[in-house]
C-alpha cells in the first residue's frame, strides 16, 4: 500500500523527502566544515606549539624580558625550557607567515617537531620553511627570502624544510639570537616552552612558575590555546549550525503537511481497511512508516549532498564559511561516518514527528462515519486548537530572557523554535479571526462567498497547506530584518569611526613605526589639513579568552564621543585615576560598566584603569580598550605610532598628498605604507559583511523555494480531493469561471493570511535575533531597521504563488472527470 500511494502521488513524496534532505544536508555540511576547520586548526596549534607541556606567553606582542627564561629553566621540576620568539611576518607579496625564533638545541629537547632539517644548522641567515610556507613564497632550498615583521625587514636563505609542521601551516623557523637582533627585539622573548620532568607534580611546578612570572607574562596550556582559537569562530559556526537545524524543522513541517493531506484523502480507504480487520495500531504504524520511508530517503540523500556541499564550501569559502576568522589555509575535508549517521537519524525523527500527528488523527476517526462521509472530515463546529499554541508562545517568550549557556545562545534558539511552532499552531485560529470580519465585507458575488465560506469552515486544512511556507517565510523575514539592522548599524558606525579622508596603517606593528620627528614631518606635508596618529596593541587579559586590543587614540576628555562612538553615559573620572574606554564586546565579556576599574599591564607594570564609558565596536569581537594618547605616553613613554588618519585640506589632491607623505616617511617603513581612502574602506567592510551573509541568504532562499513547491503540491492535492465538490457545484449550476475565481480567491486569501502570519512571526523572531542571539553570540548590539522592500516582495510572492497554484490545479477540476465524480464509484 505504501508503494501504491507513492506511485499515485510521487510529487508530494518527493517534496517531503527533498525537504528532509535539505535540512539534513545543511546540518551535516556545516558540521563537516566545523570539524575539518577545527582539526586543521588543532593540528596547527599542535605544530606551532610543538609538544610542550606548558607555555609561558607574553601578554602583549612586545614580549617580556628574556631574563625570565633562565629563571624558569631553574625551577625544580622543569626538565627543559626552550625560549621562543613568535612573530607575525609577511612577505613583499603580502603572504602572511608565522616566524619562530628558536634555540635549536633547546627546542630539540622540548618541541622536536619544530626543528628544521637541512644543512647549515648554525648559520645566522638560515631559515627553515614548512611546506605551506615554501608554496606561499615560491621558494626552494638555497633561494633568498625577505621577511618583514614588527617594522623590520630581513633577508634569509632557505636552508631546509620543517617536516614536523602541519601541511597547512606557513611557518618559518630561524635562529633566536638572529631573530632578536635582526627584528629589533634584543633582550625580549614572546614565549618559553617548558617540559616537565618525569614524575613531577604538575600542580606544584605550575604554582612555582606562576610565582616567578612578571605581570606581562602568563601561563597558557595546550587546551586553552585551542579553546581560544575555537572561540574565535565558534559563535559564528554555531549560528550556522542552528540555522541548519531550523531548516530541518521546516522539513518536518512539510512532512506533516503532506502526510496530513494524504491521510485525509484516504480516509475512506483506511475506514475500509479498519472494517476488514486492520487494527488501530497497525494503521498508525503504516502511516508512520510511510513518513519514515520518506524521511529515510531524504536523510540518505541529505548526508550525501551534505558531504558535497561541505567540500564545495571549504574550497570556495574556507573553514570559516566567509566569516573571515581563519586566514590562508583551506582545510581538507574530514569525513565523519558516525556523525553522518546521527544526522540521518535526525532527518528520520523530523519525518516521524511530522507523520505521527496525522496518523493519530486517522486512527481516531470512526470507520463507519468515515465510510459514509467521503469528505475530508471537516467539522466547522470544531474550534481551532488555541491552548497548545498559546502555551508554546509563552514558553518561547520566557526562553527569550534566558542567559547564554557556555557563551552560546542555545536557549535563545529554543525560544525561536517554540515561538515558530506556536505561531504555526495558531494559524487556524488566526485564519478564522481574519476571515470572519473580512467575510462580512466581501460582497455577495457567489464565488467570493463560496471561497470565504470554505476557508472559514475548514481553517485547519488551510493551516496544513501553509505551515511549511509560513515557517520558511518567517525565517527569511527574521534573517532579513536582522541583516538589514546589522548592516545599517555597521554602516552608521563606519561613518563615525572613519571621519578622515585617508587612512594608513603599518602591518602588524607592535614596536617601531613613526617616531615623533617623523610624525612632525608628516603633519606638515602639503595637502594635510589635520593628521592623527594611533596605535593598537594586543592584550591577553585572561588566559581563556582570545586576545583583546588596546587602542591608543588622541581623546579629548571633555568631548570623548568625537574619538570613540559612545553608547553609554560617561562616568566622571575620580581624582588621580587614569581614564579608559571599553568597547561593547569588552564590557560584555569582562563584565565592565562605566565606573568599574580594570587592571592592564602597561610599561612593564600592572596599571589600574578606570572605565569612563562604553563605545560601539564591530571590528574586534573580543574586546578593545581605548586609552588617551597623553595617558599612554605618561604610563609607558612610548611615542612610536603606527596608524595615521589624514584629513585633506580643501582642494588637495589625494594622490599628491599621499606622495608627499611618502616622501617624508622614514626609509625603512615607506615600502609598507599603504593609504586607503575612507570610501574604499567602508565599501570593503560592507563587502566582507555581505559575503559573510551570502551563505545564509542562499540557505534561506532554498528553504523558501521548497516551501513554495510544497504549497503547490498541497493545493493540487487538496483540489483533487475536492473533485466531488466541484462536480456537485457544476451540476447545481456553477459556471466554470465561477469555480476558477473561487479557487483563485481561496488561494489568494490563504496566501495573504499565511503571509501576514509569516511576516508577523518573522518580525518577532527578528527581534530575538537582534536582542538575544547576536548579543549573546558576538557581544555586540545593533539598532533595528526594517527592510520594507524585502518584506513587501515576500508578501506579494506568496499571495501570487498561492493564487496561481490554486488556479492551475483548479483547471484539472473542470474536466469531464469532475462531472463523473459525483457518481458513487471509487
Amino acid at each position: 500500500m505504501v508503494l501504491g500511494e507513492w506511485r499515485a502521488h510521487p510529487a508530494r513524496v518527493i517534496l517531503a523527502a527533498a525537504a528532509i534532505a535539505i535540512g539534513v544536508a545543511l546540518g551535516f555540511a556545516v558540521y563537516l566544515v566545523n570539524r575539518s576547520a577545527l582539526e586543521t586548526f588543532a593540528k596547527a596549534i599542535d605544530t606551532v606549539s610543538g609538544t610542550a607541556d606548558l607555555q609561558v606567553h607574553s601578554v602583549t606582542a612586545a614580549g617580556f624580558d628574556e631574563g625570565l627564561y633562565p629563571t624558569l629553566a631553574q625551577i625544580p621540576g622543569v626538565a627543559a625550557a626552550s625560549p621562543v620568539l613568535e612573530l607575525n611576518a609577511h612577505t613583499a607579496a603580502g603572504a602572511s607567515l608565522t616566524v619562530l625564533g628558536l634555540d635549536v638545541l633547546r627546542a630539540a629537547a622540548v618541541t622536536p617537531g619544530l626543528v628544521g632539517q637541512g644543512a647549515h644548522s648554525f648559520d645566522g641567515q638560515a631559515a627553515y620553511l614548512s611546506q605551506a610556507a615554501m608554496t606561499a613564497l615560491g621558494a626552494k632550498a638555497g633561494s633568498p627570502v625577505t621577511l618583514t615583521a614588527v617594522g623590520h625587514s630581513a633577508v634569509f636563505t632557505v636552508a631546509g624544510s620543517l617536516p614536523g609542521a602541519g601541511e597547512d601551516q606557513a611557518i618559518v623557523v630561524i635562529d633566536i639570537a638572529d631573530a632578536q637582533w635582526r627584528f629589533g627585539l634584543l633582550g625580549r622573548l614572546q614565549r618559553v616552552d617548558l617540559k616537565f620532568g618525569a614524575g613531577t607534580s604538575t600542580q606544584a611546578v605550575q604554582a612555582a612558575i606562576t610565582r616567578a612570572l612578571p605581570p606581562d607574562a602568563q601561563i597558557v596550556t595546550q587546551r586553552q590555546e585551542s579553546h581560544r582559537s575555537d572561540a574565535l569562530s565558534r559563535a559564528y559556526r554555531v549560528n550556522l549550525e542552528m540555522l541548519a537545524m531550523v531548516a530541518l524543522m521546516t522539513g518536518g513541517f512539510l512532512v506533516y503537511s503532506g502526510q496530513s493531506l494524504s491521510v485525509a484523502r484516504r480516509r475512506p480507504q483506511f475506514a475500509l481497511l479498519r472494517v476488514l480487520g486492520l487494527s488501530q495500531r497497525h494503521l498508525i504504524l503504516q502511516i508512520v512508516i510511510e513518513g519514515a520511508a520518506g524521511g529515510l530517503a531524504g536523510g540518505l540523500i541529505g548526508v550525501a549532498a551534505g558531504t558535497g556541499f561541505a567540500t564545495l564550501a571549504l574550497a570556495l569559502f574556507g573553514g570559516d564559511l566567509g566569516g573571515g576568522y581563519f586566514q590562508g589555509a583551506r582545510p581538507h575535508l574530514a569525513f565523519a561516518p558516525g556523525a553522518g549517521l546521527v544526522f540521518l537519524l535526525l532527518g528520520l525523527i523530523a519525518a516521524l514527528a511530522g507523520a505521527l500527528w496525522p496518523a493519530l488523527e486517522a486512527a481516531r476517526s470512526r470507520p463507519a462515519v468515515a465510510l459514509k462521509n467521503a469528505d475530508l472530515g471537516i467539522d466547522p463546529r470544531r474550534k481551532p486548537p488555541l491552548v497548545a499554541a498559546l502555551v508554546l508562545l509563552m514558553i518561547g517568550g520566557a526562553l527569550a530572557f534566558a542567559p547564554p549557556i557556555g557563551g552560546l545562545p542555545l536557549l535563545g534558539y529554543g525560544s525561536m523554535a517554540a515561538i515558530l511552532a506556536g505561531g504555526i499552531a495558531l494559524m487556524p485560529a488566526l485564519a478564522r479571526a481574519i476571515l470572519g470580519p473580512a467575510r462580512r465585507l466581501a460582497g455577495d458575488a457567489p464565488a467570493t462567498r463560496l471561497a470565504f465560506d470554505r476557508l472559514y469552515g475548514a481553517p485547519g486544512q488551510a493551516a496544513v497547506a501553509l505551515c511549511g511556507i509560513v515557517a520558511s517565510v518567517s525565517l527569511m523575514a527574521a534573517m532579513g530584518i536582522m541583516v538589514a539592522s546589522f548592516r545599517g548599524s555597521v554602516d552608521d558606525w563606519l561613518g563615525q569611526i572613519l571621519p578622515a579622508d585617508l587612512y594608513m596603517r603599518l602591518p602588524d606593528l607592535e614596536a617601531g613605526g613613526f617616531d615623533p620627528a617623523a610624525q612632525d614631518r608628516l603633519a606638515h606635508a602639503p595637502g594635510v589639513a589635520t593628521i592623527e596618529f594611533r596605535k593598537v596593541l594586543t592584550l591577553r587579559l585572561a588566559p581563556d579568552q582570545p586576545p583583546a586590543a588596546l587602542n591608543v587614540v588622541p581623546i579629548d576628555p571633555t568631548a570623548p564621543q568625537r574619538a570613540v562612538p559612545l553608547i553609554s553615559t560617561v562616568s566622571p573620572l575620580p581624582a588621580g585615576e587614569t581614564a579608559v574606554w571599553a568597547s561593547e564586546p569588552m564590557a560584555r565579556l569582562y563584565h565592565l560598566k562605566p565606573g568599574h576599574a580594570v587592571t592592564v599591564p602597561l610599561g612593564g607594570q600592572p596599571r589600574r584603569l578606570y572605565v569612563r564609558g562604553i563605545w560601539r565596536d564591530y571590528a574586534r569581537q573580543f574586546g578593545a580598550l581605548a586609552i588617551g594618547d597623553t595617558d599612554y605616553v605618561r604610563l609607558t613613554g612610548d611615542r612610536f605610532r603606527s596608524q595615521v588618519a589624514v584629513t585633506l585640506a580643501p582642494g588637495a589632491d589625494p594622490l599628491r598628498t599621499v606622495a608627499a607623505l611618502r616622501a617624508v616617511a622614514p626609509p625603512g617603513i615607506v615600502a609598507d605604507m599603504t593609504f586607503t581612502e575612507s570610501k574604499s574602506l567602508r565599501a570593503m567592510a560592507l563587502k566582507i559583511f555581505d559575503r559573510s551573509f551570502a551563505v545564509t541568504y542562499a540557505l534561506e532562499t532554498i528553504a523558501i523555494g521548497i516551501g513554495l513547491a510544497s504549497v503547490a503540491a498541497t493545493f493540487s492535492a487538496q483540489t483533487l480531493a475536492r473533485t466531488r465538490e466541484f462536480g456537485m457545484l457544476r451540476h447545481v449550476g456553477a459556471l466554470k469561471r465561477q469555480i476558477v475565481v473561487m479557487l483563485a480567491l481561496e488561494g489568494a486569501l490563504l496566501g495573504a493570511v499565511g503571509a501576514l502570519a509569516g511576516l508577523s512571526l518573522g518580525a518577532v523572531l527578528g527581534q530575538i535575533l537582534i536582542q538575544v542571539i547576536n548579543p549573546q553570540s558576538f557581544n555586540w548590539s545593533m539598532d533595528t531597521r526594517w527592510p520594507m522592500g524585502l518584506l513587501l516582495s515576500l508578501f506579494v510572492v506568496l499571495v501570487a504563488a498561492s493564487a496561481g497554484t490554486a488556479v492551475l490545479s483548479g483547471r484539472s477540476a473542470l474536466s469531464s472527470s469532475t462531472i463523473r465524480a459525483v457518481r458513487e464509484d471509487w
Binding site: E725, V732, K736, E824
Partner: protein
Amino acid sequence: MGESGVGKSTLLNLIAGLDVADAGEIKIDGGDLSAMSDDQRTILRRDRIGFVFQAFHILPHLTLAQNAALPVLLSGGGEAQGLSRARALLAAVGLEGRSGSYPSELSGGEMQRVAIARALIHRPALILADEPTGNLDPESAEKVLTLFAQQTRDARAAAVIVTHSDRVAAIADRSLVLTAQGLILRGQ
C-alpha cells in the same frame, strides 16, 4: 430503470446539459440544448433544473440553510431572500429549526432531505434524481421517497429518476426501461 452500464447516467447528463450528444437533439422548455454554449447550458441548469444525488453531496463547510440555498446563491440572487426561502423549505422537509446546523451532525436520511430542499429552492421545472435512496436504510428511504413525491407534485415540477429499486419506481407516474434499442415502457 435498466441494466448497469446501459447509459442511464449518460442520459441524465445529456438532459442536464453536462454532456453534448453526438447525434439527435434535446429540447427543454422549447430550447435546443445542442445549440447552446456551455455557459448557456449551465445557466439553464441553474435556473430550471434541480438535482438529487445518491451520495447527497452536501458541502460540509456550509450550514444546512446555505447548502439548500446554493442554487439561488450561485445565480446571484439576494442572500437574505435565498436563506429565508431555504429555511421554509427545510421546515417543509422536516428539518425545522436546524437551519444553522452543519452536515456533520446529520444522518444520511436527513442529509438527503437537505438535498431535496436544495433541488426545489429555485422552483425548477425539472428535477433529476440518480438513485436518491441508494445510500439510505429502508425506513429513511421510505420517508424520503414520500417527501420527494409530495414536494415534486406540490411544486408542479417534472421529475426523471434513475433507479434499480422497484419501490422507488412505484412512486412514479410512468416507468421506462432503457435498453440497447432505446426507451421502452416497463412491462413490455
